[in-house]
Amino acid sequence: MPTTLTPLVQTRFPQQVVGTHHFRGQDTVIITREALSDVARFLRDDPALAFDFLMDLTCVDYQTFGRTPSSAPTLATPSPLPYYMNPKPVTEQWERLVDREAFRFDVVYHLYSSRLNHRLRVKVPLSVADLTMDSVTSVWHAANWFEREVWDMFGIHFAGHPNLKRLLMYDQFVGHPLRKDYPAHKRQPIIGPLN
């Protein structure tokens, strides 16, 4: 049962909304990178949406999506169900809606409205050629550290951020560890005392 949230955004920004979906009771709006600032302000200030909380901001690297070594089905042709079993009906399908080759990263915003008690997920696909997008620190203060963390972990540059430096890793760290092509066991030299 999709709610009325996504149509509200879609009617206001018909060109900028790439797609919407409703999965397991949660609404998602996918918008273009350029529209983010306008959409963010609209989401916060529109009385029917009133998203005053930026609950979470994160990023997902879709480089190996669906290609995890164990993601292939165990059997090439699944064995048929016995006659007395009915397949579980698949009620909901989830699609990313944008092409993995063209858009490797999704920056994900989880919004919550304390007044109207509803949630919305906003996703901004980014292509690896240009990993720059607008900062929303002027809309929600919470974005400050969240964006620093996404820069640290994924190397996405937020234009207009007041202090975009690494948050969890140290300044001398090379690379962005949560990208899928960063090897989990990679070692980096120990940094001694700085002064």
């Binding site: 397991r24 993601s71 949630r119």
Partner: protein
């Protein structure tokens, strides 16, 4: 000729500079490893910068490399004061992805254990911040009370801290036999301790002077920073995920959401003290109304050893085996099967069979194999879910993306104290250096979830 050389120095003639001071990463007045760089004008803080990451241990990266069930022990280490809430928050996200519901009894157990954890968390927070203000007795009293609750946690989960009690589709084991009575006794004792601490602190001049009007944050600013939990409620907004968007069975209990008015340290202290009382109310209601699991009747009124059960089955005498109690060799003893059914969802895609079934019959062994062996495992369909539960510090979110494999594609934790730490400079600037201690104490920073 210089006249000022021997003259008395005045305020105007003295050259003053701001001093920079590192508070932390390891500082006796700070619990947790964190560095606050403050710029001081005398004792007044002009500006401050917070550095985190000292406890970063790549939880999110690690979670992408291991099967779904193996992430659960890592979630214990996120908030090591109330690990049960982390367990359940993660399990909830996976259950929603798989679209399964846990049994009612399990939901009650989750509520009870979450609330006990919340009390533990608040006891630690209030006790530690009181200790840092010189009230060492309160700390000892509260840790004593936490000990009683941890004994309950130990009785249920088998561990005090690294509990790993949540399971996708259920919990590890049912509550022990006399849990309700033990809990009631423990809560009675905790109430006495809270009353004592209340007498020691709430109208204590030293404590009130340090807490009142320090670390003030306005409601609007707190909302903009994404602050949730007791910290936000002390600012006057009664927002609680348990009430606003109830999960598990929180909508069946009556409890109040206490709020403050000033958003200062003292209000946060009062809110936490009241929340402990409300949590105890929830636990008592849940214990009174928890539904029993299925009644397990022995086949002939006696307990069958597993080997006997196998022999019986070979002769085809299997009627009633589902209801039979089996005892195993102590080294194999896991959850007993009757309890297992009561607290775990009937879902072969996600729930491990009871140990008796794994060792006792081929179906159980196959189910176990399909969930444990490499390349099999729990496989939620492609999708994403953000589960929000009310942690002790605020909203604890788990954003899980699945690509249909047996490893989570991405696990993102939204740690509740992260947003509060981001707002810390707002709380510290233009205040006294000594106010760092009560303010930082009321933030209740947990390094494990902050740095992941």
């Amino acid at each position: 000729m210089n006249q000022t050389t021997n003259a008395i120095r005045t305020v105007e003639s003295t050259d003053t500079r701001h001093m920079f001071l590192n508070v932390g990463p390891s500082h006796p007045a700070m619990h947790g490893i964190i560095k606050i760089i403050v710029e001081l004008d005398g004792e007044r803080i002009v500006s401050s910068d917070v550095e985190i990451g000292y406890l970063h241990r790549a939880f999110e990266k690690e979670a992408e490399r291991i099967p779904y069930n193996n992430v659960i022990p890592y979630t214990d280490r996120l908030n090591y004061v109330s690990p049960l809430i982390n367990n359940f928050g993660y399990c909830l996200a996976i259950e929603r992805l798989l679209d399964i519901e846990v049994t009612e009894r399990c939901q009650y157990i989750r509520v009870i254990m979450s609330e006990l954890s919340r009390i533990c968390d608040h006891l630690t927070c209030v006790g530690a911040s009181a200790m840092e203000l010189g009230a060492f007795t309160v700390f000892l009293y509260m840790i004593k009370a936490r000990e009683w609750l941890w004994e309950l946690v130990e009785a249920v989960t088998g561990a005090r801290l690294t509990i790993s009690y949540g399971r996708v589709g259920g919990v590890k084991a049912d509550l022990p036999e006399d849990f309700a009575d033990q809990t009631r006794t423990a809560l009675e004792n905790v109430r006495k301790v809270l009353l004592e601490c209340d007498t020691l602190l709430t109208r204590n001049r030293i404590f009130v002077d340090r807490m009142q009007d320090t670390g003030v944050i306005s409601k609007e600013l707190a909302i903009s920073y994404g602050i949730t939990g007791p910290f936000l409620r002390a600012c006057g907004l009664a927002l609680d995920t348990r009430k606003a968007q109830p999960y598990f069975v929180y909508d069946r209990f009556t409890f109040d959401v206490p709020t403050g008015a000033h958003g200062d340290n003292y209000d946060r202290y009062l809110v936490r003290m009241e929340e402990m009382e409300q949590s105890m109310r929830i636990v008592e209601q849940a214990l009174a109304t928890i539904p029993p699991g299925p009644i397990n009747v022995d086949m002939h009124g006696n307990v069958l050893p597993a080997t006997v059960m196998v022999d019986e089955a070979k002769m085809g005498r299997v009627a009633g085996f589902q209801q039979a109690h089996v005892t195993l060799d102590p080294t194999l003893q896991g959850s007993t099967r009757g309890f297992h059914d009561a607290v775990n969802a009937l879902e072969k895609r996600a729930v491990l069979p009871a140990k008796e079934d794994t060792y006792g019959n081929i179906e159980g062994l196959m189910q176990h194999f399909k969930l444990i062996m490499l390349g099999h495992g729990i496989r939620p369909p492609s999708g994403e879910y953000y589960s929000a539960v009310e942690g002790a510090n605020g909203e604890l979110g788990f954003y899980v993306v699945s690509d249909g494999s047996d490893h989570p594609y991405r696990v993102r934790v939204r740690p509740p104290c992260f947003t509060i730490m981001a707002a810390l400079p707002e709380l510290l600037n233009d205040r006294m250096l000594a106010d760092i201690v009560p303010t930082f104490g009321s933030v209740n920073m947990i390094g494990g979830e902050l740095d992941r």
